[in-house]
């Protein structure tokens, strides 16, 4: 089968996968956000290389005294328009992510995902232990109350 000349796309796919790997594998939140912006920039490269026309100039009309020169080969302007949006979405997500990382660093004392997950797990464990302990106490006290023969309705 004849392989189309698509090595450009393969190079972009490799960059995308490096970015995706950093997002999934690295525990540090700031490093993850860097991987995320890497991933988004390479998706932008995929779009732009899709719109490329060999020999075509940038999608700006070449004007000969006021009128566009006829029969000029332009690259496809539509992916460029779409990618202006994607770049802005990327920077917006990175800014919100970085703000969250700063808040997490202040609340937890660490910006590493495994440390934060560990602290969360301990917090939930402590809450469950407290609940169990409180339930045991209330059973004991209600048992003593029942034992003491006070038959009236137990109010909160």
């Amino acid at each position: 089968m004849t392989l189309p000349n698509v090595w450009n796309y393969w190079a972009v796919v490799v960059l995308m996968m490096v970015g995706l790997y950093i997002v999934i594998a690295k525990p540090n939140y700031v490093k993850k956000l860097m991987g995320l912006s890497l991933f988004q920039v390479s998706v932008i490269m995929l779009y732009v290389s899709m719109g490329r026309v060999t020999g075509g100039t940038a999608p700006i009309y070449i004007l000969d005294d006021g009128a566009p020169r006829p029969f000029v080969l332009y690259t496809n302007p539509v992916p460029h328009v779409l990618m202006l949006t994607a770049i802005v979405v990327g920077i917006a997500t990175t800014a919100v992510g970085l703000a969250l990382v700063v808040r997490i660093r202040e609340a937890y004392g660490s910006s590493e995902e495994d440390v934060v997950a560990e602290l969360d797990r301990r917090e939930v464990e402590a809450a469950n232990a407290l609940a169990a302990q409180r339930a045991a106490e209330s059973d004991a006290s209600s048992a003593t109350a029942a034992h003491a023969g006070a038959s009236h309705e137990e109010h909160a």
Partner: protein, 392 residues
Amino acid sequence: METAITVVLFVLLLATAIILGRQRNLFAASMLTGIFSLVSAGLFTVMEAVDVAFTEAAVGAGISTVLMLATLSLTEDVEAREKKISWPALAVVVLTGGALIYGTLDMPNFGDPHAVVHGEIARYYIDRSWDEIGLPNMVTSILASYRGSDTFGELGVVFVAGTSVLLLLGGRRSELPASGESPGHERPSSRPPGKRHAHVREMPVVRTVAKVMLPYIVLFAFYVQAHGDFGPGGGFQAGVILATAFILFGLVFGPQELVRHVPPERLERIMAVGLMIYGGVGVVAMLLGGQFLAYGVFTPSHPSHGHHYGIFMVELGVGITVSAVMIIIYATFATRRPSLAPQVVLDAEDRCETEVSADDVPLVPEERALRSGADLLAEGAAGTDAASEVPS
């Protein structure tokens, strides 16, 4: 010649991405993100995508690097864990990459002019946008008029980003003079107490040069805003460059000075005004009988003039909101009072976490190894500049 430059740039990009992945010193990593954006913008230029290169350079190399560095000054600047391959991540990556490569097998050749993608609407825009709208830069005419609602949504995303950063970090701004509950308390900077640095006042060169250059950068931003119709440029790029000028001011003269000159309360209103201008232009078109954002209705006699007015107003709204949001985001990050919470480092066996306060001198051995390890990495072995490796 073009494929040669493309190959070199792709190699540079891949090298930067891999070094970025392995680099544990996050300052170096954020510098590498800046380089990655610059080189990718170079690649877009070679691939004739000039507007995209413009925005990627201004946003990627400019704003996002500065934001990451500002975040790192508020959090740790060294990644904790050493480098080890995580197999589940590799599996997901290989799976996704394989699917994408499988997808490229049926794609048309790179740069093939007869591909389907250049047929339909792209052919229409290239042939007709000069007669219908009359702007030399096709990208701006598509961006603002044909697909105007996309840009309206995009401006909404920028507005949400500004609102989010204000909601998340707007609270604890460090007041102007060094007040706050513990004026004496030193920020637990990782630098040893002995090595205080010269205050910025002692760097007159940078201050005067910044004062000289700032007006020209602002002038350049307005040029880019107006030039958007004829060449690469437009509302987004102009807004980002204008914000870069204010960020430069904030970098050189200090964030308090920036907040004093450009109070965030007023910026928040300006942020909202830009989006309302964009929406307002659309609503006026509706009131005049057309659909939302139908600029042709403004001048029924010859619609292309209506498009000129509409696109100019819309780009103005975009420029206002984008610059206000970028300045707000930078000011919020830079004036955020660093938390005094000690850094929590989990013991290797994850049994107990050692509450390590970064500013008590006797650092935990493992922490010191980590710290000096990073310095060693940064300062380089072979004892060169040994004096500069200050005992932390």
